[in-house]
């Protein structure tokens, strides 16, 4: 390839040449070349809203299956305990024991 081309996802460099490593659509943004496979597992982008299924309840977090490369983690800390009638408060040990009241294995959840 010419000098200055940048390697994006889906391609690799060898001996000064750029090769595709997946079968898909070549996208070019100025000097950045990416190859987007037509079918692959979900790779997250910042700002995506995802729907997942809880696979495991652990200390202080849940494991969520998003059909991505790895399972996602939903931390207990990220849940807002404030509500109409409650004041926002700090996380306590008792909240950990209450985790199953929020999400249990097999439940679908939505998260941004």
């Amino acid at each position: 390839t010419e000098v200055g081309f940048l390697r994006g996802h889906g391609s690799y460099e060898k001996d000064d040449k750029l090769y595709a490593c997946v079968s898909g659509i070549v996208e070019r943004v100025n000097k950045l070349i990416t190859v987007r496979p037509i079918q692959a597992r979900y790779t997250g982008e910042v700002g995506d809203v995802v729907v997942g299924r809880i696979t495991e309840v652990s200390h202080q977090f849940w494991r969520v299956d998003l059909f991505a490369v790895q399972n996602a983690v939903l931390a207990l800390h990220s849940i807002d305990f404030g509500g109409a009638n409650q004041t926002v408060r700090r996380l306590q040990a008792s909240d950990e024991y209450q985790m199953r009241n929020f999400f249990v294995e097999g439940v679908h959840g939505k998260d941004g």
Partner: protein
């Protein structure tokens, strides 16, 4: 002289007729007809059906996904699991059920090692890629067909690889190198050499041989197998391009 239970043993010369035709009418350097299809099982991440003569293989790929047995996860790359199994109806006589016979275990290992050198596992730490091969009908050259099918399935799943892996087997009958042995020719007891290559670079990623071969013949048989793999590459590449174009069109992008 007894008819019952007597196996008809073909003499070596009958595998190659005086005109140079093999038992199925092919020339020594002729491949069997190949048919392949990507994306045959939508519920898997990737899948492919591959047929070479009467050998029929179904390959399924899952992943990259979270490792099922968490302690086996490796921190900097994806692990590859491969399972090769033959359906009970795949051979002439019904096979006994049970996954772990030695040959299947060996072939699973061979396929895994072949793809470990090609798949870019460092892009997916702590995950696994599972390749499952199901032989629907076995008529010689199953491990090579399995590798070809797996290549297609991995491409269908969007797994990044350095190159496609193409495999073909060759052997030797009466000093004549023969390409793509079928089951009858394989059972003749002559040498059988499955070879898998990376077509763009020509590098050999898998090479096996059973039986013995004199050195001069070894080179000829290896070259023949490599040429066969390259020819198969053209077929696979064409199918991948056709499928990709079709999918792109269907999505209207």
């Amino acid at each position: 002289e007894s008819m019952a239970g007597d196996q008809e043993i073909l003499r070596m010369t009958e595998y190659l007729s005086p005109e140079g035709l093999r038992v199925d009418g092919r020339r020594p350097e002729e491949l069997r007809m190949i048919r392949c299809k990507l994306g045959v099982l939508p519920q898997a991440d990737g899948s492919a059906y591959y047929q070479q003569g009467n050998t029929k293989i179904l390959a399924i790929v899952f992943g990259p996904r979270e490792v099922e047995v968490r302690r086996k996860a490796v921190h900097d790359r994806a692990i590859i699991k491969c399972e090769y199994s033959m359906a009970t109806f795949s051979t002439g006589e019904r096979r006994r059920q049970g996954k772990t016979d030695r040959r299947s275990a060996e072939i699973s290992l061979i396929i895994r090692q072949t793809f470990e050198s090609v798949i870019m596992t460092h892009q997916f730490p702590r995950s696994e890629i599972v390749i499952q091969i199901q032989v629907l009908q076995a008529d010689g050259g199953t491990r090579c067909a399995a590798i070809n099918a797996a290549t297609l399935a991995l491409i269908n799943a969007g797994v990044p690889m350095r190159d496609m892996v193409c495999a073909c087997a060759a052997g030797c009958i009466d000093g004549t190198p023969i390409l793509d042995l079928n089951y009858v020719e394989d059972s003749a007891g002559g040498p059988d050499m499955p070879v898998a290559i990376l077509p763009e670079s020509g590098k050999v990623v898998m090479l096996q041989m059973d039986s013995k071969l004199p050195l001069e013949l070894f080179e000829k048989v290896l070259d023949l197998a490599t040429d066969g793999s390259t020819a198969i590459y053209q077929v696979l590449k064409q199918e991948v391009e056709r499928y990709t174009a079709e999918m792109v069109l269907a999505r209207g992008s």
